[in-house]
Amino acid sequence: MLVIKNLKANVEGKEILKGINLEIKAGEVHAIMGPNGSGKSTLANVLAGNGGYEVTDGEIYFEGKDLVELAPEDRAREGIFLAFQYPIEIPGISNATFLKTALNEVRKYNGKPEATPKEFLDLLKEKSNVLGMDPQFISRSVNVGFSGGEKKRNEILQMLMLQPKLALLDETDSGLDIDALKIVSNGVNVFKNKDNAVLLVTHYQRLLNYIVPDYVHVLSKGRIIKSGGKELALELEEKGYDWIKNDELIEEIV
């Protein structure tokens, strides 16, 4: 589904990603872990097409299509979704308007008819039930006055509504208490199936207790320095990131 080859990217002229190689297949859940400043969020933003990040080298293929030249809205319509670490507030635009506009744009691009008001409401009811969201939220402005946990839930709701092929979750666990974390994780688990894929970006292992990854990659200074199964996350939790860094150093000397 996603193939990343030797990806390098700059933010404000500074190189953050220094050659990332990664392949994600349908049905897989990958977790990218790493210390602050390692480039985790940069990777998620580059994949979603954030204009503040400049790809300087390498390739990204999504379902065989070259992503690098694609506008963010077209990436979304192709099936990429980024759940933001810091969701944006949009006063004056209701969640209903926002979701309906997004849903219909994605449908239109994929040659499907617009959702009827009933279809939209039924879908919304079904998905917001998964997340235990009060239906009243739909008439409120996007993320305005939402708590941190509500904002993250709203991100997952948008994901469930749009049904992307690849979901990128950028620090979705940050700022969540344990109950909210369970709800959000449940939303992701309801979402995932054999035809889609999830890339979790996280600093902490605790999210991976609820969303179990097939692969864990450790990012440090813009490179993936170690990959493994879910047990790698536990090892990291136990020994901290320094363990990897030392390991890496030894490998380099050898």
């Binding site: 506008a71 809205e73 979304a76 004056g92 635009i93 209701s94 209903a96 308007t97 997004a102 744009e105």
Partner: protein
């Protein structure tokens, strides 16, 4: 034809402000002076009666209807049926004929002549609207005044002079709806005085949608008594050069004043908002929120003055003005002026100028929403906190619509 000549107004006879005047530093009125104008009063309005005037009104809510054409009251098009007894809504000229008492008490008592435009209005205004709400009366529906200006054959000058008097414990909402008709360049030079008696509530909406080849000048001067609340909502869309002076004097204790403003300019429009909140007495509160959206080569000016006089202890005065520039060539000049002579006060002001936030735009686009809609959503978001202050639900969505229509951008509606 001799009469027409008599009615030609030579603006240069009036001492109109130049950019050397500190209060007019950013607003050059020279383009206004190139025309000679005919007074609206001398044109008559018979030709206008066939126009679809109802289309100019904000609709889907109930209101009392008043029509002015080129500054002249048109009683046959106005509809004040059912207004509560004792409430007076009539043209200034009728009221003067009848020696209306409230006129002699209040007219020209609050606004002093500060510049040539005020003088022009004082000298030439033969009509305007007088509203009198007696003690304890609540006017149940807004009074919507259509000021339709412009002419096909003449450069017309409209000089309405308005007076709103709300006595003790009364309440009134007025919507001043300024519109133009396509034709020759014209000038509107209005002056509105507001008296908010003890414990009264006055809501004054101004929505300016004049033609793009017009000039619009208005001064609003309010005077507030104890415990009164005056809200001014100022929406500017039209006009080639617009200058608003919105002033209130808080003349007693426990008064509240709110100034909300949203102005949208594109092409080469110039919009200048000057506000003045004069705190004369203790324990009052004023709050000001102005926002501008500037596109093309337009220019905005915001000058907000807050005076806290020596007696005005325990004053709370806030001012915020923000502008978003949609193009590289749009310009805004802002100047907050705080003059504080009391020591126990809370005053703050904030100004911000910027572009639409790129990160927010990315967020919206990352949901599959195209760039033009993403920008429209952010424009709506920027204007939202001013528009949400409108108390009339139906008016709110019509103003939102005008935002997109005026900027010629795809509309985003909540439904």
């Amino acid at each position: 034809m001799g009469n027409d000549l008599l009615n030609m107004i030579e603006l240069r006879d009036f001492n109109l402000p130049t950019t050397k005047n500190e209060e007019w530093k950013y607003t050059n009125i020279v383009p206004i002076l190139k025309n000679n104008y005919v007074l609206g009063a001398s044109l008559g309005y018979e030709n206008y009666l066939s126009l679809p005037l109802n289309d100019y009104f904000f609709k889907d809510f109930e209101f009392y209807k008043v029509v002015f054409i080129n500054g002249i009251f048109v009683s046959e098009l106005s509809d004040l049926k059912g207004i509560e007894s004792g409430v007076i809504v009539d043209s200034l000229s009728n009221l003067q004929k009848n020696n209306s008492e409230f006129l002699s008490i209040h007219l020209n008592k609050y606004s002093t002549i500060e510049n040539g435009f005020n003088e022009l209005n004082n000298t030439l205004a033969t009509d305007g609207l007088g509203i009198y709400v007696p003690k304890g009366k609540v006017v149940d529906k807004p009074i919507q005044i259509l000021y339709l200006n412009g002419d096909n054959n003449e450069n017309v000058l409209s000089v309405p002079k308005n007076l709103i008097v709300a006595e003790e414990n009364s309440q009134v909402t007025v919507i001043a709806n300024y519109r133009g008709i396509k034709g020759r360049e014209y000038l509107t030079n209005a002056l509105t005085e507001v008296y908010a008696g003890k414990n009264s509530i006055v809501d004054l909406y101004k929505i300016q949608l004049e033609e793009e080849n017009s000039y619009h000048i208005e001064k609003v001067q309010a005077y507030q008594e104890a415990n009164s609340l005056f809200n001014h909502y100022n929406f500017t869309f039209g006009g080639s050069i617009t200058r608003n002076d919105i002033n209130t004097c808080l003349g007693d204790e426990n008064i509240e004043s709110h100034f909300y403003g949203l102005y949208l300019a594109h092409k080469e429009q110039h919009i200048d908002n000057h506000t003045f909140v004069d705190h004369a007495k203790p324990n009052c509160m004023s709050n000001e929120l102005y926002k501008g959206i500037l596109d093309g080569q337009s220019r905005g000016v915001f000058n907000g003055k807050i005076m806290v006089r020596r007696d005005a202890q325990k004053t709370n005065a806030y001012q915020s003005n923000k502008a978003v520039l949609l193009s590289k060539s749009a310009v805004i000049d802002t100047k907050p002026q705080l003059e504080i002579f009391a020591d126990d006060v809370k005053c703050s002001h904030g100004a911000a100028v910027g572009q639409l936030d790129e990160n927010s735009e990315f967020y919206i686009k990352s949901r599959g929403i195209p760039q033009d809609i993403a920008k429209s959503m952010l424009i709506r978001a920027f204007a939202a906190d001013v528009i949400e202050k409108i108390k009339i639900d139906e008016l709110r969505e019509q103003i939102n619509h005008l935002v997109f229509e005026h900027l010629n951008r795809v509309e985003v509606k909540n439904n």
